[in-house]
Amino acid sequence: LSNPPSSLSFLEGSLLIVFQGKLTLLRDTKTDGSFLVHHFLSFYLKAGCKVCFVALLQSFSHYNIIAQKLGVSLTAAKERGQLVFLEGLKSCFDVFFGEEQHVGQTNPLQFVSKDGSNLKTMYEFVRTSLMASGSDSWKCPVLLVDDLSVLLSLGVRPVDVLDFIHYCRVAVCSQLKGNIVVLVHSNDDSEDEENELVVNSLCHQSNLILWAEGLATGFCKDVHGQVKLAKAFSLLPMLP
């Protein structure tokens, strides 16, 4: 099976060349920012990158149905080895209802069952998924996470979430020259201090922040919100 046809514009193509080894933070407030996740997923798959998608919030078929509307088949991408998909809900099910010995030590969500705040297994999963194997002809590897805030709900401490991202940056961004895209939720008047801590720290670390905000005036049928671009590193000199 050949690579999917690259249907990127010149702009997107040059973005890809220039934008490597970076951490992109997707952030949503008062709206659902997952459309950004879907966009990046199909974007990177169409571009021929190897993608490891840590999908914690929805089922595989949800992402697949939307990706098909955006022109990409996740099933086909998995089959040709371009996409490694971690379906968090399913892994957690295995951890919770599975036999002790079968779960073993390799389930990335095994931290849910122990007194767990250790994301080491998840990190190992990401690292081995994106390590280049000899026959691979994919472009830069990408780690996509939807969404990080769920980990806090599962008992992971903020410092361990940040450690996980740090380790992933070392492996994916520095060593493999790939990109990381992470979605977090946040609210202006949020009382979830742990979440705000993670969000603020990631804002500080990331190279690019895409912030989807709901309208301040409330819900509207036709206009869902606005997307703010923050802290984009300068691409303008590189483009013709």
Partner: protein, 391 residues
Amino acid sequence: MAALATGGATPSDGATSFQRKVPASSRLAAIAGTRPSVRHGQLLLSSGLPSLDCVLGGGLAVGTLLLIEEDKYGIYSNLLFKYFLAEGIVCGHNLFVASAKEDPADILKELPAPLFDDVHKNQVDEKETAIKSKQESQESMKIAWRYQNLPKMEVSPAASARFGHYYDVSKTVSPELLKSIKWHRFFLPEEMSLHPEIKTCNMTCGYTRLLQSIQRIIYQEGFDGSYPQKKQKNILRIGIQSLGSVLWGDDICCTDNPEDIFSLTKFLYVLRGLLRMSLSACIITVPAHLIQNKAIMERVTNLSDTVVGLESFIGSERETNPLYKDYQGLIHVHQIPRLNSLICDVSGTKDLAFRLKRKQFTIEFADHQPCASQKEHILTFKHRLSFRASS
């Protein structure tokens, strides 16, 4: 139970794009009480309250969770809970009822009685029946004289191919109708006494047992597709009452520094996985007003699909406010899921009030304009669905 096509949407537009729980090879036969969403092939159920279905964009999606933030005394949230279960009975779905304070059998006995089509029909067609009755009486003599003295059978409500039904809360559902469906129970005091202590995943014991019980039913009854040879697919409606309250063994409702703040959110995450992998839908009521740690409710909202908050006017100053004199409270739609789609189709306004009036429960839209003199909003209303709560 016969598989009936539900009235309303024709299956021609995108019905087969629903792929979530069914293997690609088998077509999804029509399941009673469901209809496909026109926009994105999502299979929808009625919540039991047609105007709530409207507000939620057509109904509840199969595989999702409806979280109700209880009103202060739990009166109206309990009503919504009962509607959801009653709708399941009328559609012939299976029920799973979980509670830590009330025996599920008692909950079921108190479900509202459905208003049959015949009742409405009779009011309209009185003229026609008057004409026909004479002929019928002659015929009945000939054909079935033996049976004419027996009481007339009630028309089964499942025979009506409707999506969403109306209920008379002044009457309880008939025992015959209750017997016609299959249901499962989880009563925490009973479960705790039966089995020794277990603790998995550092979750509150009650939650662990509940998850195991739900998973067992889903697996044994084949709601997760584990018996593909089973001819008739059905829906499992799960109802969990007052989750998070003290009776479940969780302390998030009684202190702002709970011992374990992750039990409830872990429970919801595992439940989410169970729902996504089965033909089911779940309603959970949570006494949100008792949870001091607001971060928990934010996380709970993020882990739920549809979140609706109820606010009753009982005991508040609004009770005597003339603007609200016909209404018992407000409904806040905090969240609606976007499944299999980049956007969600929801009505443009989210200000809703509800009222109980004799035999009718009304949820109405508000097109409000600010009132200059009082700085309050005048609520004007359009729809109407009525229903009465009896004491």
